[in-house]
Symmetry: C4
Subunit: 210 residues, 4 copies
């Protein structure tokens, strides 16, 4: 395998590796913070209108909360993935950029969701965006394992894949639901967080203590 | 206690811990910088209108100054808290994300305050936002101590709690004031900085020298 | 050479050097994330209009994808250049700032491209912006080599120069094409990525294994 | 001196110190990148209008270039100052926050300058903003020296003060000029860069080699 041979570079390039991670962290932290720009209030409202204008932001606030949690979760998964990476090559960098390119779209999808959450196109756009992030993440993970760039074991990789398929499934399901009643669809996504909590704790705090 | 057992992970995971802190710092620095976007000037004003348009930004400038100081102060407290954290688990990360999720709303609340500072809804939104940050911060602090993730001593924790309750009290007080005259309410917040100066100096520069 | 004598400062100033790199990385990650702000959706659309409004963003999405890839690629080249820098002086810092100053304009050029991609001025502005980044990058590289601040060998420098001239050539070519049909011009830029993929893999994963 | 006694904390708190610097660098890199948001193009222009609309951005582009150079320069000075800091206390952190609070206003002042550069209020706002940054920077520097937090020698401090007064003088001078013809005033600021180039090279590349 020509690629695997060329690709190998492990610690000893810690500064370069650190910059990839730091760049990713920068993008994550900016994307998550830009979410706040979706909340806004008009200028020149009269006294009675201010309360209403704020109340009308409740869906944007909900979209903010969802997207903040989503990006936070993606960051944790990304963080966890890169903590097991032992080498990198141009392809991992490219896939990571593709991953970030999908991730950075979330503030836009989130604004669409916040503005038109009860409508099919918004649910589709948001679901498609998050699905893209999850799938590219799996692609990156699969590719890194295939090229011997990570110490992630087969069992963890399978678990992650199952989890990713579950997430994608939830989004597809929410799109189907949205065909009938788009305003219900976002509630399907709550399933993700139920699943998510277990994941995070398990991964970060003593995996399989036996 | 199942959780405490699983959670323990101290230095030896310095890179991972460093990334949590770096991510938080990134979010803080972006949120504090986005405050400037609340200041703006219209296009295509005539010569005489430019000065007026700038003068009309004075309340936004005041809101900017207040919020910059507030976020700066939260950063110092966060900084100080994490300097005493000795281990982390998924829950600390989640609570920290929740903390940041509240913090990142400040540029929005600040824009509302700058635009409608003299009105009740603006005072309520701003107060509620800062109160949320303070309370989640205390929750995170309490939880970390409870799970043995920090070397913060009981006395400091109590001091911090008192301080937090004081801050929350000031905000509740300002809301009550706002019911009578909303334009006075922001001045109540000055109390926080009187208290704050002592805190910062004490914490960062030789605590209890005896 | 007075300048070379004064300029020399190598590792031993790692913290200062690290800050230059970290500052650059920060600017890169913010610029690449700000691209998402070019995507937007109007408020208060009726049900039927939401889908259309999203569809109208397709050119901005394309511009986003192109610019994300472009900035990502520039980051990789910048990253690669600085990994071979062994000393720095005020001039390298100034040239790096000039480089970043051109780079940060990309979100603007990209918004012009996304909005008016089929028109000559948009093609010219975008091409000029990227050309400026490439040329300043070469200037910085040439200057650093001339002043003995990098361990880059002559062969690599020549390769990079050829590559840069190729890129500049593609942009000039696309402007010429745009004079006839501006909507075709952006497709010329695809040539850059064909070339680019070879470059990245070659540079980062075992150069000339013999 | 009660304060000096309490304040002392030198290396041994490198992580905490590093976070102050990293936070500042983050703010600098975001502020400098946000400048690009001052450039914009209207939607829905007809074919002939695009070129004109871009041409109308020339003053914003000039303001961008000036402000980018200004923030870059402030970063270099800040960088240089903190490389000589050997200890920190709450007051240094607070002054640094005040410094950053003034700095972050530059994207706003710059947008005013770009939009209304030929008018007195714009010149005053921009000059006042930069003057504030310079003066707070000197205050921070003076205070740090006074409290024994820096190894900067008296000679350098004096040089810096002279330089700062020169900068403030240039801005006051430009305001006076603006009273007669505001469109000329920005050109006065070119004096700063003449002076600046010497400074940067001198500070960063072998100071007083004898």
């Amino acid at each position: 395998m020509a690629r695997e041979r060329q690709a190998r570079r492990r610690e000893g390039h810690e500064i370069e590796f650190g910059r990839i991670v730091a760049f990713s962290d920068g993008v994550f932290s900016i994307a998550i913070t830009l979410l706040v720009l979706n909340l806004s209030i008009s200028h020149h409202l009269t006294d009675g209108e201010v309360g209403n204008a704020l109340w009308e932001q409740r869906e944007q606030l909900l979209a903010y909360a969802i997207s903040f949690a989503v990006i936070a979760r993606f960051w944790i998964v990304h963080h966890s993935f890169f903590s097991e990476v032992t080498a990198f090559d141009g392809r991992l960098i490219s896939l990571n950029m593709l991953y970030l390119g999908c991730l950075v779209l979330i503030p836009f999808s989130s604004s669409v969701l916040g503005e038109y959450g009860g409508q099919l196109p918004a649910v589709v756009v948001y679901s498609a965006n998050l699905t893209a992030v999850v799938l590219v993440g799996q692609w990156m993970s699969w590719d890194a394992r295939h090229a011997g760039l990570t110490k992630m074991d087969a069992e963890t990789a399978t678990e992650n894949l199952v989890r990713a398929l579950f997430i994608v499934g939830v989004f597809l399901f929410s799109i189907v639901i949205a065909l009938f009643d788009a305003s219900i669809a976002p509630f399907c996504w709550l399933l993700l967080f139920v699943e998510g909590r277990g994941h995070v704790i398990e991964r970060l705090s003593g995996r399989r203590s036996a």
